[in-house]
């Protein structure tokens, strides 16, 4: 059978198809259909010829098979150093094989590739720093994911994820109305405590336009409220767009590049429409990577930059603290050992390592901050990156992957972990659920709000 009803080469573009795929519990039917899915080998090879450029070709060719990359990969480390987890092996035996065969591979092989691409690599880009040739497996796996997606070999959750982005332009079924209502609702709720607080939608020429992760309006609307509180206290002239507010990209994890482009253009349109001086997003690593670091290229922007300066939330926060727009009450600073999770997506992919430590210097009593080892650009993935967190079929492998972060955290001796990345936050939560090591974890927003030195009369105490 060439194409299934749920599992096929066509992206999900209608609400109907989305609901149908969603209703297939854990993708049972979807994966059953995948067993029969044909590989369009001609199309596969044509795509490779068109999109595989000098860099990737050279990487595949000159890999010295030296194994220097082996223990740079946390998945190799936590899986008892089995050679099948050596980064170079993972890519050579999947993408390398497809290229060698000129795309002439079968269903079984594609399913094998899917497993490797989504359960043996989180695209954390760490190995690239340890390879003498600078071969970055994270980049190559993203490419492989694109090929697999185009042939329909993609985990059920990510097919849905990118379908959500295509249909709703959000990773969850949050419509424009839902979003605007949530903003209004949160503004009302929060205003009781913070008189004068608003969440202005579609305001022109603001200082800052704020974008977020659709899971926030859907499941943690308080995050939006917290952002509003901090903008309010800092006296920021800010706004959220009614359209183009969602900056995440499960399509990036799925390898659905067409959808990535559509989504990021949607956000850029909002920027052009509202003309803010700058944009900032929420505490999310992959959203930032998608919209700010990779997005400009999807959108075909020559300078590789978004239409307006677009900073990560940690940059906005550090600036507000530095400039005294937000003041921390010294008595409320953190006075217990605390550590920080460096998100690969904005540390290894954009160099934002010092700015998070600057925030720490304001909010943690000196002597209490403990670095993870290794840290900054050498830090390990939380264990759930690249979509790994969300894929049911690979839950077991993901749980093994969490062990690296567990060991890193245990080594610090801290009970509190600051994780200014949505996905890292989720992974650390799951880590505690799975292994019960007795830790707490937090985004920056609630921590800071709890520590603020608030001007008299700004907040109503109940």
């Amino acid at each position: 059978m060439p194409q299934g009803e749920l599992c096929n080469r066509k992206p999900i573009v209608t609400d109907e198809q989305l609901k149908l795929t969603l209703s297939d519990k854990s993708g049972k039917k979807y994966y059953a259909e995948m067993l029969e899915l044909d590989v369009d080998t001609n199309a596969l090879w044509a795509t490779i010829q068109k999109t595989m450029k000098a860099r990737l070709k050279t990487w595949l060719e000159i890999c010295a098979h030296c194994g220097m990359c082996a223990d740079s990969c946390f998945l190799y480390q936590v899986n008892d150093c089995v050679p099948e987890q050596v980064p170079s092996y993972k890519i050579q035996s999947t993408l390398g094989h497809i290229v060698k065969k000129k795309g002439n591979v079968d269903n079984e092989f594609m399913r094998h590739c899917m497993k490797v691409a989504w359960s043996q690599c989180t695209c954390c880009n760490r190995c690239g720093m340890y390879c003498p040739h600078g071969i970055d497996m994270g980049v190559m796996f993203s490419y492989l994911r694109g090929l697999l997606y185009s042939q329909g070999f993609v985990p059920w959750e990510l097919k849905i994820g990118s379908g959500m982005h295509r249909v709703y332009r959000a990773q969850m079924d949050v419509t424009t109305e839902d979003w605007v209502e949530t903003c209004e609702w949160m503004a009302e709720e929060t205003e009781e405590e913070w008189p004068g607080l608003t969440i202005p939608v579609d305001k022109q020429d603001a200082e800052i336009m704020y974008t977020c992760n659709a899971r926030e309006p859907k499941h943690y609307p308080e995050d939006l409220a917290e952002a509003a509180v901090l903008f309010h206290v800092a006296g920021t002239n800010w706004t959220v767009p009614s359209e183009g507010w969602e900056q995440t990209s499960l399509s990036m994890f799925a390898g659905d590049w067409e959808c990535c482009k559509d989504n990021v253009n949607h956000v850029y349109d909002a920027i052009e429409r509202l003309n803010p001086a700058r944009v900032t997003g929420t505490e999310c690593g992959h959203a930032h990577r998608a919209t700010v670091i990779e997005g400009p290229y999807w959108a075909g922007r020559e300078d590789g930059l978004p239409p307006k300066p677009y900073i990560h939330y940690v940059e906005w926060l550090a600036e507000a603290l530095r400039e005294g727009k937000l003041k921390i009450d010294p008595a409320k600073r953190i006075k217990e050992p605390v550590t920080l999770q460096d998100s690969c997506n904005y540390v290894r992919n954009q160099g934002l390592k010092d700015v998070t430590r600057e925030i720490i210097s304001y909010i943690v009593e000196p002597g209490y901050f403990v670095e993870m080892a290794p840290n900054k650009e050498h830090n390990y993935c939380c264990g759930g990156g690249g979509g790994f967190n969300g894929i049911g079929m690979y839950r077991e492998q993901r749980n093994v992957a969490l062990r690296k972060k567990m060991d890193q955290i245990l080594d610090t001796g801290c009970k509190l972990v600051i994780a200014p990345c949505h996905n890292c936050w989720d992974a650390i939560r799951d880590l505690e659920e799975e292994y019960e090591i007795g830790i707490r974890w937090s985004f920056l927003k609630p921590l800071i709000i709890g520590m603020l030195d608030i001007p008299e009369g700004m907040r109503v105490e109940w």
Partner: protein, 225 residues
């Protein structure tokens, strides 16, 4: 035979080898795509070049990259192998005499004793590399017959050169063997993975640009390799 091998044929080999390598470099850079690679090479050239330079220098220095520092044993073997491999043929007295005769100039020469030492280093390092390939599971799984073949092609001129130098067996035969294996090695450079002798610089420069631009450079953070 000797005349042919060190005369016209040698020039042809040089032309193919160095011309071929040049073509590989040109094709590499021509084949980059700002959109598909997701690096705006041209728009932030100065950041990019800084990153490229940083990346290359860090990796040419045996203590410059964290990866090197973490594996001192392998790093030592690796550098010994590559230094011997490059320095010996270029600064060998006998080669320079040929150069002098043919082109009328020569490079600084190294003492014979030193050349012997370097040649032995290459051979010993090669054996160590092979043993490492066999001994470590994470390297064994990557290793193919092609990897061994390339190692053989690479050390063959050194083995034959040393045999000729010590005048073991038939000198003329080993000298010719040395020249032929050397020319085979040169011919393989552009067409095999040995092309990494130039593509290493391309790839490193490229990733260095990536880091120097979007992966931190524009944010003013220097990247520690």
């Amino acid at each position: 035979m000797y005349e042919l091998l060190t005369g016209p044929l040698l020039w042809l080999v040089f032309a193919i080898s160095f011309g071929g390598l040049l073509v590989r470099v040109v094709l590499y850079f021509k084949g980059l795509s700002q959109q598909l690679d997701r690096v705006a090479y041209k728009a932030h050239l100065s950041y990019g070049l800084k990153g490229a330079f940083n990346s290359i220098i860090s990796w040419l220095n045996p203590v410059g990259a964290r990866a090197w520092r973490k594996k001192p044993g392998y790093t030592f073997i690796f550098f010994a192998f590559h230094i011997g491999l490059l320095a010996t043929p270029i600064f060998l007295a006998a080669h320079n005499i040929m150069l002098q005769e043919n082109l009328g100039f020569s490079l600084p020469q190294m003492p014979a004793f030193f050349a012997d030492l370097l040649s032995w280093t290459v051979i010993v390092a090669c054996v160590a590399i092979i043993l490492r390939r066999i001994a470590l599971p994470e390297v064994r799984i990557l290793t193919t017959a092609y990897d061994y073949l390339l190692l053989v092609i690479t050390v063959a001129p050194f083995v034959t050169g040393l045999i000729a130098r010590y005048q073991m067996g038939d000198y003329q035969f080993w000298l010719l063997a040395h020249i032929i294996t050397g020319e085979i090695w040169l011919l393989c450079l552009p067409f095999t993975k040995l092309s990494h002798c130039v593509l290493f610089f391309c790839s490193r420069a490229q990733l260095g640009m990536d880091y120097g631009i979007k992966r931190g450079g524009l944010k003013g953070s220097t990247f520690s390799w």
